[in-house]
């Protein structure tokens, strides 16, 4: 076996596994039009939480990712959740187990606010 063949084999296997996993997951997503409980994402970009209001089902995990060159936080104004300081590309996740509206903000730049609506 040449080294290039070995490289192909090494890459192909994880890709195959990944494709199998995708097939395994996709039908359940298609069967249910509700947003996937595992997939809610908020991007912090240009000092803005996007989307500013995100609606998710009970049990959903929301993940914040900081895309700015400046650190931010995501902190519930009612003390429900509190991220550590997120430097560039760092993430914070929180799973919402109860229905309700959860306002939050960046404690470093308090003009930055957002809301998670859990239904």
């Amino acid at each position: 076996m040449t080294s290039s063949n070995m490289w192909v084999a090494g890459v192909a296997m994880p890709v195959l596994i990944g494709m199998l996993l995708l097939f395994a997951v996709s039908p359940s997503v298609k069967a249910n039009d509700q947003p996937s409980a595992a997939n809610a994402a908020v991007k912090i970009d240009n000092f803005v939480f996007g989307p500013q209001t995100i609606t998710v089902p009970v049990g959903a995990t929301v993940t914040w990712t900081n895309a700015d060159d400046i650190p931010h936080t995501s902190v519930s104004t009612e003390g429900v959740f509190k991220s550590k300081v997120l430097d560039t590309d760092e993430k914070f996740s929180y799973t919402f187990t109860k229905a309700g509206t959860y306002p939050y903000y960046c404690t470093i730049h308090p003009k930055m606010t957002g809301k998670v609506v859990v239904q």
Binding site: D68, D69, P71, K84, V85, Y105, P110, K111, T113
Partner: protein, 346 residues
């Protein structure tokens, strides 16, 4: 009436600039990074100039003393806007050290670090150790209180201060007050001093003769520059009401990484440049994030601040127009001077 007011402001600005450095020269010598402002107290009137300009023998003739303000070192920041913020802080310190007349002390108006990491504070200490000025005074920026409610900051830089790091001192007849407006910030708000600190400030100033020159310094501007970006302090009006009776009040801030000045009655407001990276003029970019520009253009970028902003329906009139090559400031991005604006209260 308005003209008369502007004339007075112009006169005041003339005084501020009556230092042998014309406005164009003043701007030209403001290298974008590694800069600071030298404040010379002369008969209680602070006079500023960029210290990149060399000092002549007579520069301090008649001056009582001088001090230097540096700001926003952001040690630990390593993004494209400036991959080596330690080097530019070092440049700033070197320039202070080579001034013909040493300043009595240095004031750092916050954001010493990027992420409040001990290693970042260590690096800052190493660089500042090389400063010839015997005393450096600090107020924290929001980046210095990220992890532990500012405990580490207080231990290192706030010994003997009150609350989250506020304090006052007298120096050669001038009363200096360092304020903290980056702690316990409320959702949707801007900078905040809080009741405890305001009470302390009121008491601190009480009983001082109105002739005492006052210098207030804090990280976030104590005047509203651009609320959308949080460039202001929610309860600064109350703080400023305590200094109204004084004949000379100077307010020094950082945070916005560019020079802005405003003269309102007897109160002069100034924001300093960063030693780390520039930030955009208010509203000229999608956000206040670090501005990435080629190094040889940075100096020009710093000169471009024009504020055409409405605060509570009152116009923030631009008293001084940009002097740079591009002339008009309508775009908010033409080359030129830092804007000098006058907030007209109704």
């Amino acid at each position: 009436m308005a003209d008369k007011k502007h004339d007075l402001i112009d006169q005041k600005l003339q005084d501020l600039n009556n230092d042998g450095v014309d406005r164009r020269g003043f701007l030209k010598c403001m290298a974008w990074a590694g800069t600071g402002l030298v404040w010379t107290m002369s008969g209680g009137i602070p006079v500023s100039r960029a210290f990149a300009k060399g000092y002549g023998k007579d520069d301090r003739k008649g001056a009582d003393f001088s001090f230097v303000q540096i700001s926003d070192s952001h040690i630990g920041f390593n993004k494209p806007a400036n991959p080596d913020v330690t080097a530019t802080l070092q440049t700033a310190i070197n320039k202070i050290n080579t001034m013909a007349h040493a300043p009595d002390f240095i004031i750092h108006t916050g954001d010493l670090s990027q992420l409040s990491k001990p290693s970042e504070f260590d690096t800052l200490d190493q660089v500042l150790k090389g400063a010839s000025a015997k005393q450096i005074l600090f107020v924290p920026g929001e980046h210095d209180m990220l992890t532990d409610n500012g405990e580490q900051y207080l231990q290192r830089y706030g010994k003997g201060t009150k609350g989250t790091g506020w304090s006052s001192f007298d120096h050669k007849g001038v009363h200096f007050v360092g304020l903290v407006n980056v702690a316990n910030l409320k959702a949707g708000g801007m900078g905040s001093l809080g009741n405890e600190q305001l009470e302390w400030l009121e008491n601190d100033l009480k009983g001082r003769p109105a002739s005492t020159p006052i210098v207030l310094f804090a990280h976030i501007p104590l005047w509203t520059i651009y609320p959308d970006w949080g460039w202001g302090t929610d309860d600064s009006e109350q703080a400023l009401s305590y200094v109204k009776r004084f004949g000379s009040v100077t307010v020094l801030n950082g945070h916005i990484h560019q020079i802005m000045q405003k003269v309102e009655g007897k109160v002069s407001f100034h924001t300093a440049m960063s030693t780390a990276f520039p930030q955009p003029a208010p509203g000229s970019a999608p956000s206040a994030g670090p501005m990435k520009v080629p190094a040889d253009q940075l100096q020009r970028v710093l000169g471009i601040t024009d504020v055409n902003y409405l605060v509570s329906g009152r116009s923030l009139a631009v008293v001084d127009s940009p002097l740079g090559d591009s002339g008009s400031s309508a775009s908010g991005n033409a080359g030129g001077a830092p804007a000098v604006v006058d907030l007209i209260h109704g």
